[in-house]
């Protein structure tokens, strides 16, 4: 499903990831363990294209290193950063609908549903453009 092969990453001249290789199979839960500064967060940022990768990153057999973060997200990789922010002025439901919009691959992506029972409040909600929400144009 996800395969890193000899991946290196740099912040300026600092060599942060020094040849990371690992595979994650379909349905697996893999945890990256290490002290602060070991490169755990940099590894996921590199997978998502936020940090340039040197080496090979494959998702479902296709190279994704070198793609931009939004292109990687559209291929089906989701990312919950440590410092992510929500839209506090929007309701829970509206925040979830924005997530649906960001995952859609086409403007008329139909009536994709949120699959988890924990977020059933949006289970039957159709995808709507973010512009439908009055407060969506700026973070409140």
């Amino acid at each position: 499903m996800l395969e890193l092969d000899d991946v290196h990453a740099y912040y300026g001249k600092s060599h942060i990831l020094q040849g990371i290789s690992f595979r994650v199979g379909e349905g697996e839960i893999v945890s990256l363990l290490g002290r602060n500064g070991a490169g755990r967060s940099t590894t996921v940022k590199t997978i998502m294209g936020e940090v340039p990768a040197v080496g090979s990153i494959r998702f479902k057999g296709e190279r994704i290193d070198g793609l931009k973060p939004h292109q990687i997200a559209r291929r089906g990789l989701g990312y919950v950063p440590e410092d992510r922010e929500i839209f506090p002025g929007l309701t829970v439901r509206e925040n979830l609908l924005l997530g649906m919009k960001s995952g859609a691959t086409a403007p008329d992506a139909g009536r994709s549903t949120i699959p988890s029972s924990s977020f059933r409040c949006c289970a039957s909600a159709p995808i709507r453009p973010a512009a439908c929400f009055p407060a969506a144009s700026s973070r409140c």
Binding site: I29, G34, T91
Partner: protein, 101 residues
Amino acid sequence: MTARRNTPAGVLTYAEQRALEIGITIAGDSSVILLDEPTAGMSRSETESAVELIRSVSQGRTLVIVEHDMGVVFNLADRISVLVYGAIIATDAPARIRAEH
């Protein structure tokens, strides 16, 4: 979250906001989800709830979790990769990592 669907997200507790962040990501129908420190800043009870949430959303999905809480890691993970100074020094099942490292 169902009961709070019309609640402004800004008045949720910190743990609820973190749960909502996970919800926003799974709403995009991602098949692989990367979670960076999903339980950071949470109390023990909040962490337990977060673990249950992560376990429930993991059904049918692949997860990569960066986590500082060893209890969470050993509770959730099928495999663990140990990083030291930007290199992976071990990858194995939780029981073997615990026994050998």
